[in-house]
Symmetry: C2
Subunit: 336 residues, 2 copies
DNA sequence: TTGTATGCGTTATCAT
DNA sequence: ATGATAACGCATACAA
């Protein structure tokens, strides 16, 4: 490994001079700086991020937290889109990304400890159980954080507009003549609560009554559980005309169940998903759904986190709402 | 931040003693060690991975490389499964994961330089263009690496069994009476070459003639291009009875095109995919495909990399083949 | 404009 | 069994 010491020897200057020259300090003679840079390149010098981090107290490394307890693992396309955009933006800004987890090898650490252990300058909490004390500890610590789809008090967050997303879907379905709307929802997270509330409120506004048996629990990203919920809905004496699924993938579970009962989409039953992942638009029939701006959420999360890291003194927590868009698809039949 | 110095003061011992006690050195009095550990916990001490790395020359950090040029990005479910299992196994073994990329912020680094810059103990090259000089530089450097689905000379690799996978699919289709098999393949990577060769060879073995126009190029993970290829096949005077798609997702593009032509799967046309991602099994009709052992591949990659890192002297490069399994699905009709 | 000295937190060597 | 000291590679305050 070639270090600044090697360069200093090769150039006949001190290590301090080399360090300054390489970092573009203003008090180095241009000729000297040039000579040093040339030597550095010639010798194949690479800065050592570890040593630098130890010295300056900044690692230029940000943690990303995906606890896959609630179907929020990396394999969920919504989250992998977020991960990809967080990564891209962080790298653009000169930061690397490290996963934060519990229990690294033999040591038992919680998330906060892991982030400290790796000297992360900040952490993006992308998917987590926000009731978990370990998450709360991290999110309320002195480490800069940005949470996605959840806001801790006086903390920065990036929020998908679940309320408007659900409202847009309900209105779209309503405009297509539907009055009997059923909603299969995921686990009871705050996101789920917002969606249910918005579903209920929009229905009420539009004068639609939602019988309790039209609201059914399932599990995000789990086609099987949505299939079961679908079956329950089909067995109702008074069937809905449209089913809302927790997410795009779960819709596939419902689809199978509908087929099994001889129910065709959208002829006999209309359906909508949620997320608007690319998959939803290559399915046939093309799914009616609401696209969450996953890529933009990731980009913003990285951007705001870095801003917070680099300007901690003037930082004001922000809660940014990222809008999505309705993807009309063709799984909602006009029964007006 | 509480350091070993703080502990040493609190305990009235030297920093060296604290370090030894915390690392379970044998030459510390049990009572002293106990006292030190208690103080460490009481003070909320956390080891500093950065300082440790600088001192011992090991970062306990491994790089993961996904260059998404060939549709191998993280959002591809096959790769996200690999990423997830690499991550899980690495963490189990006490290693963190950092993404390796080109061009971090203002600095322009290639992959090798990035890995050195972060002092990665090793790198898993999960998805890349293996002709890229930057990839070759990394993979042939002194840094321990494990590549997936490609073998560099005298290097460790984890390989999905593309030859047998393709053979299994062809035989399955053959046994269902098909003799006119078309193959839409992805970009010309070494994986693709293996699949094409195996497709051709198995067909030859079975006495099937494959006209040149039955082999069509497309792009991995891109339903649109597979749709176009499908259309070309449908316009042939002598249509195939079964179409092989580059991957499971691409099949969806073909499906749309088939529908548009009034061709029903599997009644009028049989199809098979490749990958066997979870999605393929929740689609209706359930896709006939070959499941690559993505999770096992990731686990093995992490395991072998760590072994190589920790026992560099006794290390022998290995090329491990991970078997998959045929998922029969229901998109191949028996026309025997 | 350049160099000297110091320390970031840790571990390893060698005394004691 | 414990401690003093040096070193990992780098950046910075301050001296020259």
């Amino acid at each position: 490994m070639v270090t600044i010491t090697d360069i200093s020897k090769a150039c006949g200057v001190s290590r301090a001079t080399v360090s300054k020259a390489l970092n573009g300090a203003p008090d180095i003679a241009p000729k000297t700086a040039e000579r040093i840079r040339e030597q550095a390149k010639a010798l194949g010098y690479l800065p050592n991020a570890t040593a630098r981090a130890l010295k300056v107290g900044r690692s230029y490394n940000i943690g990303v937290l995906f606890s896959d307890t609630t179907g929020g693992g990396i394999t969920h396309e919504y989250f992998s889109q977020i991960l990809e955009s967080v990564k891209a933006e962080a790298e653009r800004l000169g930061y690397d990304i490290t996963f934060i987890s519990k229990d690294l090898g033999a040591m038992s650490m919680d998330y906060y400890e892991h982030a400290k252990y790796r000297s992360c300058d900040g952490v993006v909490i992308a998917s987590a159980d926000f009731q978990d004390p370990a998450i709360i500890r991290l999110a309320t610590s002195e480490i800069p954080t940005v949470t996605l789809d959840y806001t801790f008090d006086s903390r920065t967050s990036i929020l998908s507009d679940n309320v408007r997303g659900m409202e847009a879907l309900v209105r779209f379905v309503y405009e297509n003549g539907h009055r009997k709307l059923a909603f299969i929802h995921g686990e009871m997270t705050s996101v789920t609560q917002k969606r249910i509330a918005s579903f209920r409120k929009t229905c009420a506004t539009l004068g639609i009554t939602v019988p309790p048996e039209y609201i059914r629990p399932a599990v995000y990203h789990d086609p099987r559980s949505s299939g079961l919920a679908t079956r329950a809905l089909l067995e109702l004496p008074n069937r809905p005309t449209c089913i809302f699924y927790p997410d795009d993938l779960s819709f596939l579970g419902g689809m199978s169940e509908l087929e099994r009962h001889g129910v065709t989409v959208p002829k006999d039953m209309s359906v909508v998903g949620y997320d608007g992942i690319p998959l939803s638009q290559v399915l046939r029939p093309k799914l009616t759904t609401y696209r969450q701006g996953a890529a933009e959420m990731g980009t913003q999360a990285a951007r705001l986190l870095v801003e917070q890291i680099e300007h901690p003194d003037t930082w004001l927590p922000q809660n940014i709402m990222v809008e999505g868009e309705l993807l009309p698809g063709s799984t909602v039949r006009n029964i007006g």
